[in-house]
């Protein structure tokens, strides 16, 4: 089957493929082989099911088909390692068949998916590799789609995936769910991969579009899968809440021409009430039973915005307070930046500007376009137009996304016009 056809089939069977793959990786201990036979099994299903009808237990049928194919392929290899792998697969099959609920029980599949999450997001893997593996194997995107999501050539993405898989194999990264006492160390890594996927979708760091809706949907889907797999983890619910509460504003963030619309100017009737409600429910649950974690706090901030009838009537003081708590729980220069903006809204642009200027020397914010962009906005409000123009220019030097760039250019043009007008008033003809 050609790669293209395989991709199309995988897209239709994405969920099924992901489940199948998770179990096959455990049985075979080999991502590439698991991937190949999972795709083969799906291809056979696509050919036969329409003619012969869908089997009673489709998942078990797919797994059996994939297993037979794997054994065939392994026999051909003739190596010692292949012989061991066959023994392992057969042992797994026997074990599975002796299991009371039959060859494939759904709890077992879910365990395998959770294993796959923790392996793909293992801290021993490079950050870009974790994101790539998660999108490829848990979201079930094709290599082409993952490459497109991160605007890198397909070859680059294929190499990234290969390197990450090789590290899993060579370094002996295990296929297991961390013990309860390890979970607090390991879960944030998994959550942050999903969060990175969402942030890239929400404000693409490069390229023509501001939002990549498909990628945002994938991030939410991953968060939902993880929410089902770890129903007792409050921060998982918080992450899902955060993504929903932010994503609810997606349609209002650009106008009909695709230009950026800031939170201040968004048409709030275009916000997705269903997502907001679901986000609220998740957050409410997550806030019970202990102090809030960093995702719960960010979700709470998003919720305050979503509740406000307008930008001006937003409860900025509450947002500043939530940022204060967030700063204590998970300090980061970006949190300081967001807090400064909120404080400017609560206490006036001069106060906001003062806080922003305190961040000028923070190394992590060097090269971050939103710092000069935020300064520019407050300077504009303070009618310090020369400095505002300068700050907009600094932001333009750093911005990577075309829609944001267009927005900054517009603001700069408006500020320049204001400056010209003032000069005219100063020097009467």
């Amino acid at each position: 089957m050609s790669e293209r056809a395989a991709g199309a089939v995988e897209a239709v069977f994405r969920e099924e493929w992901g489940r199948l793959l998770a179990t096959l990786v455990r049985w075979l201990g080999d991502f590439d082989l698991a991937e190949e036979v999972a795709a083969d099994a799906i291809a056979v299903a696509v050919e036969r099911w329409p003619v012969e009808g869908v089997p009673d237990r489709p998942a078990a049928w797919l797994l059996t088909t994939a297993r037979r194919r794997a054994v065939d392929l392994l026999r051909r290899r003739q190596t010692y390692a292949a012989k061991l792998a066959i023994l392992k697969v057969e042992a797994e099959r026997t074990a599975a068949e002796q299991h009371a609920t039959g060859p494939l029980d759904s709890a077992q599949i879910e365990d395998d998916r959770l294993r796959l999450f923790f392996t793909c997001c293992h801290p021993a893997l490079p950050a870009d590799g974790r994101v790539a593996l998660t999108l490829r194997y848990l979201a079930g995107l094709s290599t082409t789609e993952v490459a497109r999501a991160f605007l890198v050539p397909e070859k680059t993405m294929a190499q990234r995936l290969t390197r990450a898989k090789r590290k899993i194999q060579d370094a002996g990264i295990p296929y297991r769910v961390p013990r309860a006492d390890e979970l607090s160390d390991r879960l944030p890594g998994v959550l942050s991969v999903i969060y990175v996927v969402f942030t890239e979708a929400y404000a693409a760091s490069q390229g023509p579009a501001l939002v990549r809706p498909e990628l945002a949907d994938e991030a939410i889907r991953l968060a939902r899968i993880l929410r089902d797999l770890l129903p007792a983890e409050r921060e998982v619910a918080s992450l899902l809440a955060l993504l929903l509460l932010v994503d609810a504003r997606r349609d209002a963030r650009t106008d009909d021409a695709g230009a950026l619309v800031l939170l201040a100017d968004q048409d709030r009737t275009r916000w997705d009430r269903t997502k907001i409600e679901e986000g609220h429910d998740q957050l409410k649950w997550a806030l019970r039973g202990g102090p809030p974690g960093p995702y719960a706090l960010q979700a709470a901030i998003a919720a305050v915005h979503d509740e406000a009838p307008s930008y001006e009537s937003t409860d900025w003081r509450q947002i500043v307070t939530l940022y204060d708590v967030l700063r204590a729980v998970a300090p980061s220069p970006v949190v300081d930046l967001n807090r400064a903006v909120a404080a400017g809204m609560a206490h006036g642009p001069a106060a906001g500007l003062e806080l922003l200027d305190e961040l000028a020397e923070v190394p992590e914010l060097h090269g971050y376009h939103l710092l000069p962009a935020a300064r520019a906005r407050f300077l504009e409000d303070l009618e310090r137009f020369d400095e505002a123009a300068q700050a907009y220019r600094s932001a333009l030097d750093l911005v990577g996304n075309d829609v944001e760039r267009a927005y900054l250019r517009n603001r700069l043009a408006a500020v320049d016009a204001e400056r010209a007008q003032r000069l005219d008033q100063k020097d009467p003809p």
């Binding site: 010692y80 293992h122 021993a124 370094a171 990264i173 295990p174 297991r176």
Partner: protein, 119 residues
Amino acid sequence: MRYALLIYSEEPTAPPSQEEIDAVMAEWWAYDTAIKEAGVHLDGAALQASQTATTVRLKGEERVVTDGPFAETREVLGGYYVIDVPDLDTALEWAAKCPGAKYGSMEVRPVMEFDTPEQ
């Protein structure tokens, strides 16, 4: 799988006091005992200070011997363990327990396994 736990740390600029040495050595002995009693220990050694190192290389036929370690870095290799454990997570747990993780950093590397040539 076999893993090498490579222990890196900065060498002290001033000689530590006897109490400091005793306290640190007690930690090392405790770790050494634990890793051996757990049955995962294959090999290990502590190395003398890097100023005792001598580097040798061949330039054609000529043997070039120089004083000091091969690379001048702040953190130097101070010792190692080789352990046999099921996976990276277990190796990382042993590495994290090692006093070397507290006083410097531990590099965890799988040992290359070669297929035995068939008879």
